[in-house]
Symmetry: C2
DNA sequence: GTCTATACAAAGATAGAC
DNA sequence: GTCTATCTTTGTATAGAC
């Protein structure tokens, strides 16, 4: 599915979007100035309002993209009838870590922005999708005593929390950039093993 | 250590600080307007600058308080020579959950603000404190093959991530306020068990 | 110490030339 | 489509009366 027009240099519109992605995810909506975005794009401030009506409209567009990115990783895996529970966990963990290594600011960005604007998620039907998923069904079979949400939150926490807390551990000087990458690589193997062990508890 | 003056109504200075705590932790520095704080305190805007020199100074004061609160929970427990590793985990998990139930916005607040201002943590000597702790020593003895940081990040993730991701799960309509409280109560018991099981893996 | 009114600065949006 | 210059709004800080 290649683009029809594939210019060497991105279009102005795309330059703005790319700059907006970077600045918004790094600093958050409120701390971002439209001037930052224009500068990052190497363009004039007026062009932002020419292509997108306002800061808010531009933000909403980026936000939708980012939420899609964050949930898209797992939604189709959840309903794969062909895989076992353990295989699903392996795939979700591995895919998430790969994606987040490419987008380390993504989780904190989405989590912070949702705080002030809870309505933003309503449109996505992810909630129903999770509740009715094959994954949740398999979970209930394996461990009837455990609330599926406990397991899901734990699994995602194992994967996402390192990215969210990275700045803290780095400034505490207990973690370098390299050792973080190494750690996340190890987690691809460790987390699924841990989750298996957890399901046997009690 | 009771205060000498304990007036029925808080002093103006304390009213401002209390309002600032609330608004800053809910919305973050950039999204907070000094007018919000004044209004929340039921006071005039000019008083903020009378008692604290600027928005930034007021923020720094609150931020120091909040970081103290976040780390204070565990620092003394880490070096308790009288407790076993398992007991330390139980205590840290339990204390953290209790404290965070009272301050649910705290983690996301600190994590977001640190992102833009990494230097803020340098002053705290928490890094060294962790590395040299009795807790880490016990961890290394129990499971020489496992990086202590893996364990610490996992443990904190199990406890903190639910608070950070709560707004998401709530807007996905898979979690109510009541069931969240119930879930965290269960986690006081579950997380230590899980951590024990994880230490046996591999 | 507390308030009202206002100055000043920063940031978003737009007009109009090219 | 892109730019410079400018208007407008919003938010922080201060002056000065009480």
């Amino acid at each position: 599915m290649a683009k029809i027009k594939e210019n060497k240099q991105a279009s102005t519109e795309e330059k703005i979007k790319e700059a907006a992605r970077k600045v918004f995810t790094q600093k958050g909506y409120a701390a971002t100035r439209t001037r930052d975005i224009a500068e990052e794009a190497g363009l004039n401030l007026a062009l932002l309002n020419y292509y997108f009506r306002s800061k808010e409209k531009l933000f909403e567009m980026i936000m939708k993209e980012k939420m899609q990115q964050l949930f898209g990783v797992m939604t189709h895996l959840l309903n794969d009838k062909a895989t076992t529970l353990d295989q699903k966990v392996e795939q979700i963990v591995s895919n998430y870590i790969d994606m987040l290594m490419q987008n380390p600011d993504l989780p904190l960005f989405v989590l912070s922005e949702i705080r002030n604007n809870t309505g933003m998620f309503r449109q996505l039907q992810v909630g129903k999708l999770i509740r009715n998923s094959h994954f949740v069904k398999q979970l209930k079979e394996r461990q009837p005593g455990l609330q599926p949400l406990h397991f899901i939150v734990s699994m995602l926490g194992m994967v996402v929390f390192p990215f969210v807390s990275k700045p803290v551990f780095q400034s505490l000087e207990v973690l370098s950039e390299d050792s973080f990458a190494e750690m996340m690589k190890q987690r691809k193997v460790l987390v699924p093993k841990w989750m298996k062990a957890m399901l046997k508890v009690k």
